[in-house]
Each structure stands twice: as C-alpha cells, then as structure tokens.
C-alpha cells in the first residue's frame, strides 16, 4: 500500500516537473526565435532583404505554409517586401495559377480585410476573403492541396499607425496552435514592426540623400557654368580698363583715371572671387587638374613675399621670411606650382586681412619627410569655437565682420583641398581671440603621383 502511494506521488512529481519543463522549453524556443529576429533586424537594413529573411525564418520555425511581409502607407497601400512559401504551396500555386503568391495583393478593399487598418488582427479560414486578382475556385483548390486552414494578418503598428502587414497562412485551425506558436506570433509582431520601421526610415533617408547629392551636383554645375560666363566679360573689363590706365587710347584726365582705377581694382577682386568659385566647382565635380613638377618651394615663397611686401608695408605691417638653412634641394617638392603658390598667397593674404598692427612671420623648415611652411601673424586670432569649421566651405572668422573683412569664405577650403591633393596637411593654431594665428602647411618632400 505504501509502495503504491510512493509510486503515485513520484508520478505526480514527474508530471509536475514535466509541465514546468515544458513551459521553460516554450520560453526557450520563443526567446531563441526572438534572438534570431533581433539578429536579422540588426544586420539587415534593406527593407526587401529584411522582409525576405524574416519570412524565411518564420516559415521554417513555425512550419507555416506561407508568410509575407508588406510595408504600408495610406497613399500607396500595401507593398510586398518579402515572402516565403512551403514547397507544397509553391507546387500547387505554380500548377494552378502560375507564378507565385508574391504576384498577388492583399485586397484592403474587402470587408474582411478593412479592419486591419484600424489595428485589428484578421483571423480567417477562407483565402478568398483576402486575396485579390485570383479566381476563387483556384484558391480553394490550393487551399485544399496545402491544407491551409487559417490565414492570419497582423497590422504592424508604429505610434498608432499601420506601417506594415504580416500575413501568415498555416495548415491548422487557430485554436490548434501550440502555446509556443501562439506566444511566438504575438511576441514577434512588435519586433518585426520596429525592424521594418527602422529599415523603411533608412531607405527614405538613403533616397533623400541621393536626391540631395544630385541637387548639390546640379548646383555645382550651375555655379561652374555661371562663373565661366562671368569670367569672359570680366576679362574684357579688366583688360580694357588696364589699357585705358596705361594710355593705350590716349591721355586720361585725373578724375577719369581715378574712376577707371576703381573699375580695374573691382574687376580684379571679382576675378579672384570667380576663380574661387571655379576652383570649388572643379573640386566638387572632380575635374580639378594638377600639373605635377619639381618646385623650389623656398624660391616660390620668397617671390610671393617679395610681391606683397610693398603693400603690407604701406599698411604699416612687417613681413619676414626665413628658411632654415638646409642642403641645396631640401625645399624642392613635387607639386603643382600654380596651385601651391595659390595656397601660400592665400595664407599670406588672410594674415594681412586679419592683422591691423604688428606683422607676419613666415618660416620654412624640414620636419622629417616633410617641409613645413608656417605663417604666423599678430592679428585678431581665432576663437576656439571657430577652429573646427575653419577649413569648411563659406567659413569665416567670427571677427571678420568686426574688422570689415571681405571675402567669400572659400579660400581656406580651397587651400585644404589643394594640400590634401598633394598628400600634405594644413592646420591652424591660435591661443585665442586677440592673440594672433599661425597657419601651418606640411608637404611631403617627394611623392609618387
């Protein structure tokens, strides 16, 4: 008698343990499915690939006959992202209708389906209530062959709005689904909705970005064409005003000379501005051409300093240039002479613009495998907040307005692009506002082009 009782108790315990283990097994399987879904959603960014991968996973794990995932907007309706079908469905659909179910659309106009849009789930046993563009008789034949008993359509909701649909067809009644299957389906809906939303957002950003790039390219092309068109008449204005000043068309009175000189100076400034715009266009369209050759950087810098010295001294500024002694040829680099000369001129011109008293010290030295040009001024200095965007397009010092500096804000950007093309480096240092600035350019001594 006692033995029977013990047997009975141990059997009860075994049954209880079994039930608890069964619950744990269901949770394990659900978690495992969710983990795989998360992995897919993290590693997949393209909406169609995401839809296909999730469909395959659900079909295999839950032994479904058909899974499809749609994105949805009120304007476009449902758009298929991915689907997966059982071999039986593939065979019967192919032989009955031809093609595969991805050609057909969930018909949101049908009464049985409309409630999806208000967030309700559809549980339907009749395929003909859902699909459009398919003969009912054919659908019933497929349904019979694949034993499809239930079709479930879930709205994938984000912030209360339907962003997609998940459609699953299975060969069992909904009430016959196991605990694991029911829990899994409920748990995965939100995961799929979030993954889908993220993926669609990414796609939209990508498309917007491509449009912006195209607009930017068109803008650059427009600036290039406009600048070219402006340059020709300006060359004529500059040339003829210069000839007038030189007396090529006879003597010019003092008042007229003053006016013509202004025309000449203004056209000269405008030519430089247009040259900046053209350089930007060439850089952005990738059409900037470099003519490489050996350049004596010391001589080039010395010549530029010589050219500007008079002007600077008239403004009450000192300018000094010093090349640290080095063997002959040390300061010879492989470069595009015209463009590197533009960089040096630009730095000196900037130093001049932003320095009201004191002077500019220019030094040349060899640092390892590079030669270093330093342009140091006693000017307005650079605010630390301006420093990070100093070499960006249309960037100007915050103090430019205070001291009436005119410029396009393109000079340093162009300089950086040119230095980059020479595999060099350019940067600025300043201890702050009112403490002067130092611009440094490093160019490799020799390089392979």
């Amino acid at each position: 008698m006692a033995e029977t009782n013990i047997d009975s108790i141990s059997h009860d315990v075994a049954e209880q343990l079994y039930k608890q283990n069964q619950e744990l097994a269901v949770r394990n399987k659900t978690l495992s499915l969710l983990r795989e879904l998360y992995q897919i959603s993290i590693l997949t960014i393209d909406p169609k690939t995401l839809g296909g991968r999730i469909s395959n996973l659900l079909l295999d794990t839950l032994e479904l006959e058909f899974v499809s995932i749609y994105s949805y907007t009120p304007e476009t309706g449902p758009a298929l992202l991915g689907y997966s079908q059982s071999p039986k469905l593939k065979e019967s659909w192919g032989s009955t209708i031809g093609g595969d179910p991805s050609d057909k659309q969930i018909d949101l106009q049908r009464e049985a389906v409309k409630k999806l849009l208000s967030g309700e789930t559809i549980i339907d046993s009749n395929l003909t209530n859902i699909w459009s563009g398919v003969n009912d008789e054919q659908l019933l034949r497929i349904k019979g062959f694949c034993h499809i008993r239930t079709t479930l359509i879930y709205p994938l909701m984000i912030d209360g709005a339907v962003r997609g649909l998940l459609n699953v067809s299975l060969n069992r009644e909904y009430n016959d689904l196991s605990q694991f299957e029911r829990e899994s389906i409920i748990n995965i809906i939100n995961v799929i909705a979030v993954a889908l939303d993220r993926s669609i957002l990414y796609q939209q950003i990508k498309i917007a970005n491509e449009k912006l790039k195209e607009l930017d390219r068109q803008k650059t092309e427009f600036v290039s064409i406009a600048s070219h068109q402006l340059r020709s008449p300006l060359t004529a204005i500059k040339g003829y005003s210069s000839m007038l000043l030189e007396g090529s068309f006879g003597p010019v009175g003092e008042k007229a000379r003053e006016a013509i000189d202004r025309v000449f100076q203004s056209s000269q400034k405008l030519v430089l501005v247009i040259e900046d715009f053209l350089n930007i266009s060439r850089i952005e369209l990738g059409t900037m051409k470099y003519e490489w050759g050996n350049v004596d950087f010391e001589k080039m810098t010395s010549d530029i300093v010589g050219d500007v010295r008079h002007n600077l001294e008239q403004n009450g500024l000192q300018i000094n240039f010093k090349a640290f002694p080095a063997p002959v040829g040390t300061y010879t680099i492989t470069a595009d002479s015209g463009k590197i000369s533009q960089v040096v001129s630009n730095l000196i011109d900037n130093a001049n613009k932003y320095t009201k008293q004191g002077g500019i010290d220019i030094t040349l030295s060899k640092e390892g495998n590079a030669i270093r040009l330093t342009v140091k001024d006693t000017g307005v200095g650079i605010d630390p907040t301006t420093m990070p965007k100093l070499f960006a397009k249309f960037s100007r010092s915050n103090d430019a307005g205070k001291i009436n500096i005119k410029g396009t804000g393109l000079g340093l950007y162009v300089a950086k692009q040119i230095v980059d093309a020479h595999h060099g480096k350019i940067w600025a240092e300043s201890e702050g506002v009112g403490k002067g600035s130092t611009f440094i350019v490093e160019l490799p001594v020799s390089q392979t082009k």
Binding site: H11, A14, E15, Y18, K19, N21, Q22, L24, A25, N28, K29, E63, H147, L170, N171, R172, D176, S178
Partner: protein
Amino acid sequence: MSIYHQIATRIIKEQELIIGPLAWSEARKVVGLKVIDKQAGQKDFVEFSSDTPTESQEVINRLVAQYERLFGRASREVCREVVNGIIVDLQPSEIPTSLR
C-alpha cells in the same frame, strides 16, 4: 524519410527540449523502433523494424505511451501539437490513434 519517420523523429526531438537526453533513452526502449547513433552522412534518426503503415502507427503509439507513462497526459499533448503540421497530409485512418 517516410512521414512516420518524420513523426517519430519530431516527437523525440520535442521531448528532448523538455526532458533532455532522457527522451532518446526512452525512445530506445520502444519495441519496433531503433534509434540510430548519428554518424556522418546519415539522414535518419530512427528506423522502424517493419515499414508497413500499420506497424509504423503502432510503433508511434508505443512511443507516445512511453512518454505518457512517465510524464502523464501533458506529454501526450506535446506529441500531438508537435506533429500537427505533418499529419494534415494523412488520411484520418493513417493517423496513429494516439495522435488523433
């Protein structure tokens, strides 16, 4: 793999998720069912001593009963649920009685 092989394999694997390796030990005790120690290249997990449908159904009934004897009614429900998707292709008379 015949549908009865699929059913037996599915049942044992599902029971393994709940009770661990014991599922395979108990399956080995079922008369008419041979559990194969997996070797490279082998597809099947189990073999039936007779391939007739009637005998295969009986083997599956014995397998289900083996688990039920130890773990009660719940284990029988697990067996039924797990083969739901497979038995739809069978005629009612072809479905082992323990799974109907």
